[in-house]
């Protein structure tokens, strides 16, 4: 209880810092107007927002999957690997919990896409077996994607995510959330309250109007 309160205070301080980066005093009104959407999210705001990337990989049934198929829908994108004891499954569980918590109208539209960074180990069936531990209670099953190393690298580059190394085991832990406007205004990192942050922000990005 106490720790949560402290954490919230710490986050509040951080938010305060980021909105007054001019170095003391109130930020200029024009600066605020240039970043109207950052402050409302609980995740890490992205300025400028990142456009929904285009890439085509292979889904767990072996069929091509174009990420553009998710256009217009709130979409969570995560790069990871299944032979991962800690951050990857915790992150997927956080995502599942968040999607389960939002109103049904948002939940029904939300897509979750997992892209492996370990193409040698993570075949379609391996990814499918892994994902079913997280998504069985949700209306939209998670999409699991693999491909050649070159395709995965290109997908990460398109999403502006750091390229994974060491056979995919060193990878960016960011979860990107694309909105209905096909931009990611916010991303997440594994933390104690990641699920709450995503659940808070999902309905907001589901309403983002197209630019």
């Amino acid at each position: 209880m106490k720790r949560i309160a402290l954490l919230m205070v710490a986050l509040g301080v951080l938010a305060g810092c980021s909105s007054s980066k001019g170095g003391g005093g109130q930020p200029a009104t024009s600066e605020l107007n240039n970043q109207p959407k950052v402050g409302q999210y609980q995740g890490f705001g992205l300025t400028p927002p990142l456009p929904r990337p285009s890439f085509t990989l292979t889904d767990t049934s072996g069929k091509p999957f174009a990420f553009s198929q998710t256009a217009g829908r709130p979409t969570l994108l995560y790069f990871g690997y299944t032979h991962c004891p800690d951050v990857c499954p915790t992150t997927m569980a956080d995502i599942a919990q968040a999607v389960n918590e939002v109103p049904a109208a948002v939940r029904d539209k939300t897509e979750v896409v997992f892209v492996t960074t370990d193409v040698k180990h993570d075949t379609g069936p391996v990814i499918a077996a892994w994902l079913q531990h997280f998504d069985t209670a949700l209306p939209n099953r998670f999409v699991g994607l693999t491909g050649s190393q070159g395709q995965i690298d290109a997908a990460q580059a398109a999403a502006h995510v750091e390229l994974a190394e060491d056979g995919g085991q060193t990878h960016a832990a960011d979860v990107l959330l694309y909105g209905a406007d096909d931009y990611a205004h916010v991303k997440y990192l594994q933390s104690d309250n990641e699920a709450d942050q995503i659940a808070h922000d999902l309905p907001l990005v589901a309403k983002e109007a197209s630019p």
Binding site: A5, D86, T90
Partner: protein
């Protein structure tokens, strides 16, 4: 709001410790454990241990809090478990997961909490599926204190981690 009544807190601690399968009588039940400054008699007290049900058939992670009640630093040097062929203490620094070659230092009169994104024990080459309700035996070996045995419950993938009275 800041702090629940001590009795409720202590009861919670006892309940959590009981749930966590803390063994070897490391914690004096009456005081609710080292978080409240109780006189722990063992040099190393482990609490809040759990293993999250793995989504992978090959690999799982164990988490716990280690409290060093002594006046000298100690080091968690190795872990053995009945759940898998290999177990190692891993650090998650940023995006990189690395084995702690020199072990995990537990400073004197301090606790270190293994939790997602920070530290974990990676259990590899699982000998069978791990399901909620099961317990995983872990033998933690410390440079000074020697072996400490812990029984960690397996919790469901989406379940919240047990709250640990001894963490700080």
């Amino acid at each position: 709001m800041r702090r629940p009544p001590v009795s409720a807190f202590a009861a919670g601690v006892v309940a959590v410790l009981g749930l966590a399968g803390l063994i070897r009588g490391a914690v004096p039940q009456a005081t609710g454990g080292p978080a409240l400054g109780g006189a722990a008699t063992d040099p190393i007290v482990v609490s809040g241990a759990y293993v999250r049900e793995p989504a992978s058939p090959d690999v799982a992670a164990a988490y716990f809090t280690v409290y060093n009640t002594t006046g000298t630093d100690d080091t968690l040097t190795s872990v053995a478990t009945g759940a898998g062929e290999d177990a190692s203490v891993m650090s998650d620094a940023g995006d990189t997961m690395t084995a702690l070659a020199t072990g995990l230092r537990i400073p004197a009169h301090s606790s270190v909490t293994l939790k997602p994104g920070k530290y974990h024990v990676m259990i590899e080459h699982l000998l069978g599926p791990l399901k909620p309700g099961q317990f995983v035996n872990l033998q933690l070996t410390f440079a000074t204190a020697g072996p400490v045995n812990v029984s960690a419950p397996v919790i469901a993938i989406g379940a919240p981690a047990p709250t640990v009275g001894a963490s700080r």
